[in-house]
Symmetry: C2
DNA sequence: CAGTATCCCCCTCGATACTG
DNA sequence: CAGTATCGAGGGGGATACTG
């Protein structure tokens, strides 16, 4: 029995302090982010979280499961005895609760930091796009979008029932394909470039079903507006 | 020159990762919480954050100022050469962005943890009440409420222009006084007790101007409903 | 694949003592 | 009051080896 570190706690009776007792340690919220994109296996997590050690990851997963944020289960659809981690209902609530913090960070990161393609994954951007749009998607929308941001590819599945993000290229052809340079994305999120401008100048290329593209543009515009604080 | 630790960074191009690079270290978000209640001096912060070392606090304040989250200034209204820390505009945005996380924590803390009066400060509760009510306060509301939760006392100032929280008893008589046992508060926030029930049973006592009390009850009810996730 | 088990180094944290 | 200086303990992180 190792790894059973007695967790350090603020020991205050305050919602924020308690939240930080649970998810305030290093790497923990990034694990939640990865699982918010979709269920993942141990090695997939270890890959996504470059820099974390396998030992520490195991400890965090144990803590998160004990705290009821994530659930361990066997993936029946995958080969072998593969274990899959997924967010619990409480974990999903947490993932939603963290969105405003992520938006605050995005706002300031894009303004301050130089974009580095090596450190970027398209699914992070899409997780952000997908978040909370569930409630106001256009009626009857059902489309798959493939995004190519620099070297990173991911897909956004929008349908009335909900949204889904998958890393990598789509298996079946997407309804529309969106391509942009990382710099363009940075400029958009940083507020230095208007979406309309990016489209007319061809910096952001959207090809495919025109109705699907139009719906997506609406969603993106809504999210970009949400970046500007009230 | 000490304390100039090279900060560890996730180095990912992701809003959440960047937010955590800035405020993910131990104590940092609790410092923001304290300043969200109101401007504070160094020793007031050290007192409020029981357990933090003075050295570490100094380091954190330096980092937060460098990152543009807080501002240092001289308090002209206070005696001596007193320095006061306050949130910057970015810091205020951050404080707002963190509310959902605090609510998530409150929801689970009240459900799981035994209330310990020693570890509770009424101003934490009021900061939570005051957050984001700014936009939908009743017209012409202008009242001061004194809260007595167990041994802890704090005041909530509601007026059309905004809200303010002050620790300790009010200097001038409050328009209304609210008193409750910690257990009552825990039951309310944990969803095990209805506000109406608490009032009729006398578990939550509200005395003073009846219009002011009615307005407050409306605000509290709105916040309690917000605890239940969609 | 999904982890556990070590070893080692260093940084971080917490506590205390001290200073202008 | 507003910090700086110092030091000990331990947690975090990388590397690697090993297991079912």
């Amino acid at each position: 029995m190792s790894g059973m570190a007695t967790r350090r706690s603020y020991g205050q009776f305050c919602g924020l302090a308690h939240a930080l007792d649970v998810v305030g340690e290093r790497w923990t919220l990034l694990i939640v982010r990865e699982l918010a994109i979709g269920p993942k296996r141990y090695t997939e997590l270890a890959d996504a979280l470059t820099g974390i050690g396998t030992s520490l990851l195991a400890t965090r997963m144990r803590q998160l499961e004990a705290d009821g944020v994530i659930e361990r289960r066997l993936a029946l659809d995958k080969p072998g005895s593969s274990v899959v981690y997924d967010l619990s209902e409480a974990g999903r609530e947490l993932a939603r609760a963290v969105i405003p913090l992520a938006m605050w960070g995005a706002r300031h990161q894009m303004a301050d930091v130089e974009f580095d393609e090596e450190l970027f994954r398209a699914e992070w951007l899409l997780a952000f796009l997908a978040a909370d749009v569930r409630n106001d998607l256009p009626e009857g929308l059902d489309a798959v979008y493939e995004f190519r941001i620099g070297a990173s590819v991911a897909a956004l599945h929008l349908h009335a029932g909900g949204t889904r993000v998958t890393p990598g290229p789509t298996e079946t052809p997407a309804d529309a394909t969106i391509a942009a340079a990382p710099e363009t994305v940075a400029a958009l999120v940083g507020g230095r470039l208007e979406l309309g401008e990016a489209l007319t100048q061809g910096l952001l290329q959207a090809d495919g079903d025109s109705a699907a593209v139009a719906a997506l543009v609406g969603v993106i515009e809504k999210r970009l507006r949400a970046l500007v604080p009230a």
